[in-house]
């Protein structure tokens, strides 16, 4: 077995080259390069975690914004409905007032017209009375030759008219 048979001649060389090569591996590769490789991997992990967190935060913000939008939407809807209701009530009130005013106007006009009609019909009646009284005097004078007084004729016409 050369491992044992050659040990006396080779142990020093084996240990020397082992320490030299492993020293190179440890100090140059292990200490010098591996931490940089590891740092890159760690940085990537950190970046991924950070990005995920940011995405989560953005998601939460989006949810918040949506909730905010919904409440504002509901609020503005309510406000619009309130404005609409108020406008409706106002319009109803205004039209009621106008209607009432128009009613009153119509009523006064009707009243005035009725009064005018009455006055006209009274005037017409008076006219008819005068004409009838004159006609009655003329008839009395023609038939009987008696000049009936204006007073009597008028009374007779009134009586006749009252009887209809």
């Amino acid at each position: 077995m050369p491992q044992i048979a050659q040990i006396a001649e080779t142990y020093a060389s084996q240990i020397f080259w082992m320490l030299l090569t492993f020293g190179f591996v440890f100090f140059v590769i292990g200490r010098g390069m591996v931490p940089k490789v590891q740092a890159t991997a760690d940085a990537r992990d950190a970046k991924i975690t950070g990005d995920l967190d940011a995405a989560k935060a953005a998601f939460a913000r989006a949810d918040e914004a949506e909730a905010d939008y919904r409440t504002r939407d509901a609020e503005s809807r309510a406000a619009a409905q309130a404005t609409l209701a108020r406008a409706k009530a106002e319009a109803a009130k205004a039209s009621e007032g106008q209607l009432a005013a128009a009613d009153a106007e119509i009523a006064t006009r009707i009243g005035a017209a009725e009064a005018r009609i009455q006055a006209a019909s009274q005037a017409a009646m008076a006219e008819i009375e005068t004409v009838a009284a004159e006609a009655a005097r003329d008839m009395v004078a023609r038939i009987s030759g008696v000049n009936a007084s204006d007073e009597a004729a008028r009374n007779a016409v009134k009586a006749a008219l009252a009887h209809g």
């Binding site: 142990y11 060389s13 190179f24 390069m33 890159t40 940085a43």
Partner: protein, 261 residues
């Protein structure tokens, strides 16, 4: 390798100095650049190239960067699972350990013999695995005494041990603790050696039975060859598992040092 029809399955573990560095020495010790050292350098260089591909540092990684980050992430989760958040500071060490052993095991399995090269698995030498095991164990000791001081010895007295049992339990726990570097280093060495010996023995069967005649070659040889295919796949699995076991046990031991228990 084959001397007069005889195949030595152990020859693959022989260490040979390369490039005439037989007598290179440092402070009286021979540090010849051997085939073992060549494969250590190869494993380090391949690992270096692999990790360079992961240094693009792009936010959206390519395939290569993804592979490197997968490996570092794998070691990170291994340490977090076994040691907790405090285990992150051992990522460079355990990553180096795992990848270096893994590449050593896999490079040793490459069928380079087909193009005339001699593949060598330095993790099949306990002089190599021992260095790594002692390193891991030393880190456990240093961290343990650094963090907990002499309180670290309470590791050898499990929770709820009745007082009269402590003199018995303490030496048992101490021995099981002291055995750790040996089990750590020997496990890897034994697993890699056994696998490579088995492959080489089966390969010897194929060659020798074919040399003995067509009948032997078709029966014993082809059966051995089919078995070799399966065992080669198993060896790839063992290469990964042994690297993982080494890293896992290191992190389990680090957990003792970090958190006691």
């Amino acid at each position: 390798m084959a001397e007069s029809g005889k195949i030595d399955p152990m020859h693959q573990f022989a260490i040979e100095p390369l490039f005439g560095t037989d007598h290179l020495s440092l402070g009286g010790y021979n540090i010849a650049f051997t085939n073992s050292a060549l494969y250590m350098v190869a494993a380090a260089v391949v690992l270096w190239i692999f990790v360079i591909g992961g240094m693009k540092r792009e936010l959206v990684p390519g395939r290569w960067q993804m592979a490197v980050e997968y490996m570092t992430g794998f070691i990170k989760s291994l340490l977090i699972a076994n040691v907790g958040e405090g285990g992150k500071k051992y990522i460079p060490y355990v990553f180096s350990l795992f990848m270096f052993i893994l590449l050593a095991n896999l490079l040793g399995l490459l069928p380079l013999g087909l193009i005339g090269l001699h593949p060598f698995t330095f993790t099949s030498h306990f002089t190599a695995t021992g260095v790594l095991a002692i390193l891991s164990f030393s880190i456990v000791l240093i961290v343990g005494f650094w963090k907990h001081g002499l309180h670290f010895f309470s590791l050898f007295v499990p929770h709820g041990t009745p007082l009269p049992m402590i003199p018995v339990i303490f030496p048992i726990e101490l021995v099981s603790f002291m055995v750790r570097p040996f089990s750590l280093g020997l496990r890897l060495f034994v697993a890699m050696t056994a696998g490579h010996v088995l492959l080489k023995v089966l390969a010897g069967f194929v060659i020798n039975s074919s040399n003995a005649g067509v009948g032997y070659g078709l029966t014993v040889g082809s059966a051995s060859f089919i078995l070799m295919i399966g065992i080669s796949a198993l060896e790839v699995l063992v290469a990964v598992i042994q690297a993982y076991v080494f890293a896992l046990l290191t992190s389990v031991y680090l957990n003792d040092a970090e958190n006691l228990h």
